[in-house]
């Protein structure tokens, strides 16, 4: 039943594009210990998507992207506000913020159910399988190919430009925010820019893989790569490779089991992560560092 036709190629290609965009941003999120903030953002953009959808009347509107982007930034700021002004601990601030915004999103979907063609399942898990039939048709009636693939391509280009332009700043503020500030890098601004990119990527990908599975692509490939290497360049390269690999395997596994492609890609990613974790765990490796011997302690 294994087949490699145009549809399979398109789906794998698009999934890889999304996985790479998410992975590239995810590397920096992980280095900043902000993976859960990424999770929070991917939930929190929901009301923005629904409102944008409602205003523009279609999921293709710029309003959707603007709405989601705004909500992503708002979520980051609310988390920051709760933590710094209300002195709620960080994990609880994240938990409270994303559950509230996500709940508002679900309520809006249900309130506007008859006015917008958006159901909660689509937002949650997405359906990349319908991608080949959702075409971008120009006004002249000329078909340009699948719309979502173009969106994913645009997204990836923007993410790559963003990272190339701000690589030094991102790297510096990820490892040592204080030093970055001394060097005159506006750490807060860089942070907000990164969060806006994450929210934009979430919206751009939600139709294909669903808002919640975006977080998996943000988190799992970078975490897997981090188990193998500590060098930031190879971390990024490995993340990209893992993103492509899980897209290919995930697609065929889903094809074989007749299940959600996005869900399967994530499950494969989880499996790769688990194997990497077992291989690289402290138990199975010789320690190269010096250890304090008991004698050294007693003397």
């Amino acid at each position: 039943m294994m087949s490699f036709d145009q549809n399979a190629f398109l789906i794998i290609f698009t999934a890889s594009l999304i996985a790479i965009s998410c992975g590239l941003l995810g590397v920096f999120m992980m280095l900043r210990k902000m993976s859960m903030t990424g999770d929070a953002i991917s939930h929190a953009v929901l009301p923005g998507i629904v409102i944008g959808f409602f205003i523009s009347g279609s999921q293709r509107g710029v309003e959707v992207i603007v709405g989601a982007g705004l909500l992503g930034i708002i979520a980051t700021m609310v988390i920051d506000f709760l933590r710094k002004k209300a002195k709620v601990q960080l994990d609880a601030s994240i938990g409270i913020t994303f559950t509230l915004l996500f709940a508002i999103g679900i309520i809006l979907i249900n309130l506007l159910a008859y006015k917008v063609d958006l159901d909660q399942e689509c937002v949650l898990y997405g359906e990349i399988a319908y991608l080949p039939i959702d075409l971008w048709i120009t006004k002249a009636g000329f078909s340009m190919g699948p719309r979502i693939t173009w969106l994913a391509l645009l997204n990836l280009l923007l993410v790559i430009t963003f990272i190339l332009l701000l690589f030094k700043e991102l790297k510096l503020t990820s490892f040592d925010e204080g030093f970055g500030l001394v060097m005159g890098i506006p750490a807060g601004g860089i942070n907000l820019a990164l969060m806006s990119m994450v929210s934009y990527t979430t919206v751009s990908s939600f139709e294909a893989v669903g808002a919640i599975l975006v977080v998996a692509l943000l988190v799992v490939p970078p975490a897997t790569a981090f188990l193998w290497t500590k060098n930031i360049k190879s971390l990024i390269q490995l993340t990209v490779l893992i993103g492509i690999g899980i897209s290919i395997i995930g697609y065929y596994m889903a094809f074989w089991l007749d299940s959600s492609i996005a869900g399967m890609i994530v499950s494969v990613a989880g499996l790769v992560f688990l194997v990497s974790a077992v291989f690289n765990s402290k138990k199975y490796k010789f320690k190269s560092g010096t250890r304090l011997e008991p004698e050294a302690l007693s003397s």
Binding site: D39, A92, G95, I96, T99, I104, I106, Y125, A216, A223
Partner: protein, 430 residues
């Protein structure tokens, strides 16, 4: 309104039953959640609640229907697996806790989605019931399910109450607990099991995605009102129950509305009210008390400047001289002057400000505290005289009369501070 009366008069036995269920369930989740919040493990609950989805699906596949025993069993297994994996990864890899939780949460959820689509494609008519687990539907809980979930909630509440001392040690000082001979690892295991159980019973009403709110928000909100664990737990329970009932009522009035989001919205509203308005810890209270402190500090500084002028054998300062001392705080200085004048601590005559005897005594007190603290730092802490000023500048506003007496006693009523300046006493004449 009719609906409201119908719902809250509980004439319908099934509504009364559901409200009872929500109440027990809310108390159970808030109870467990408050402990995990205090333990700084709030997001582990989020990971577990996403992670039970594949277990629920597997339970459904094995039973072929929405059998509560299979579903609870499956959920417990996948929840335990997720908890075990998260602690294993934390011990054996260099990943940060935050990445670990995000990885577990998303991959288990992804696996759950795969199983969900497999079930969907199998065309099982009971499938609709399974979708409720994602967003929750309290009204859809069947009476027989309620017995299982209610029983589990009861077990949670009972074991938490019985093992209160152990869990208190676990969240506040696990190392100490270990040192005095409590089996802390086993206590943590029991606690994790209780957390999984509370997630399992909660998702019926709240749903997988939003379950985290029921665990985190009540505790976080209640924390703003009290410092005592017992009242914290009670308050968290009250918040959870209140929002649970509101959510259920809305699902009852608007049947297409899932319960979970409304529970979360009402919970978050309660939490935001707490964050802003709670006494002592609320944002408003802290804002005003900080402002009050800053004005008092500035008043103290004005008094001090006037006193120093006295020390320099001037009878006072002109208004413009005083304002020039605080170039960027003109408004505050003017406000302090008029406040002190009203309290008859200073008098203004033709733009020249002098201290009254009342004002002088207050100014002396501040200068005395400043110099006493400098002496204390110098003598007892062995800090060089040129390093003691900054700390004294803060402490002069804070030291109480009792502390002043103690300092005086320790330092044997000194006459001079480390800078050889006079430590003023009330009977001194200038």
């Amino acid at each position: 309104m009719e609906n409201f009366l119908y719902f809250f008069s509980f004439q319908d036995a099934s509504i009364a039953f559901i409200v009872l269920g929500i109440t027990i369930l809310g108390i159970g989740s808030a109870y467990v959640g408050t402990f995990s919040f205090l333990d700084n493990k709030a997001l582990l609950g989020d990971a577990i609640s996403h992670a039970v989805l594949p277990g629920i699906c597997l339970g459904f596949m094995l039973a072929g229907e929405k059998n509560p025993y299979y579903i609870v069993g499956g959920a417990i297994i996948s929840g335990s697996l997720a908890t075990f994996l998260s602690s294993w990864l934390k011990e054996n890899t260099k990943l940060s806790e935050d990445s670990i939780i995000a990885v577990i949460l998303s991959t288990f959820f992804g696996l759950g989605i795969v199983l969900l689509t497999v079930i969907q494609k199998s065309g099982n008519p009971e499938m609709a019931g399974l979708n409720q687990f994602i967003f929750g539907n309290a009204i859809g809980i069947l009476e027989e399910d309620l017995w299982v979930y209610g029983g589990l909630a009861f077990i949670i509440i009972l074991s938490l109450s019985l093992l209160m001392k152990e869990f208190r040690l676990l969240v506040f000082n696990a190392e100490f607990g270990k040192a005095i001979g409590f089996p802390m690892d086993r206590v943590r295991l029991v606690f994790n099991i209780l957390m999984i159980l509370s997630v399992v019973i909660g998702i019926q009403a709240i749903g997988v995605v939003l379950m985290a709110a029921l665990l985190i928000t009540p505790g976080a909100a209640a924390r703003f009102w009290t410092d005592r664990l017992s009242s914290l737990l009670i308050l968290a329970g009250v918040f959870a129950v209140l929002s649970g009932i509101i959510g259920t009522y809305i699902s009852f009035v608007l049947p297409q509305m899932p319960t979970g989001p409304w529970v979360v919205v009402s919970l978050s509203t309660l939490a935001l009210i707490s964050f802003v308005f709670a006494p002592k810890k609320g944002i408003l209270y802290r804002f005003f008390s900080r402002r009050k402190y800053l004005t008092k500090m500035h008043r103290d500084h004005v008094l001090k400047s006037l006193y120093k002028a006295l020390e320099e054998k001037k009878s006072g300062l002109s208004q413009s001289e005083l304002l020039a001392l605080y170039p960027h705080h003109k408004r505050e200085t003017n406000r302090s002057i008029s406040y002190l004048r009203k309290r008859s601590q200073l008098i203004i005559k033709e733009g020249f400000i002098t201290l009254t005897s009342k004002g002088k005594s207050e100014a002396m007190r501040i200068v005395r505290l400043h110099r006493l603290w400098e002496s204390y730092l110098n003598e007892y802490m062995n800090i060089a005289p040129d390093h003691v000023h900054d700390s004294a500048e803060k402490m002069e506003h804070l030291l109480t009369p009792e502390l002043e007496a103690l300092l005086d006693n320790r330092l044997k009523y000194p006459k001079l501070d480390p800078h050889q300046e006079n430590i003023p006493r009330d009977h001194d004449e200038l």
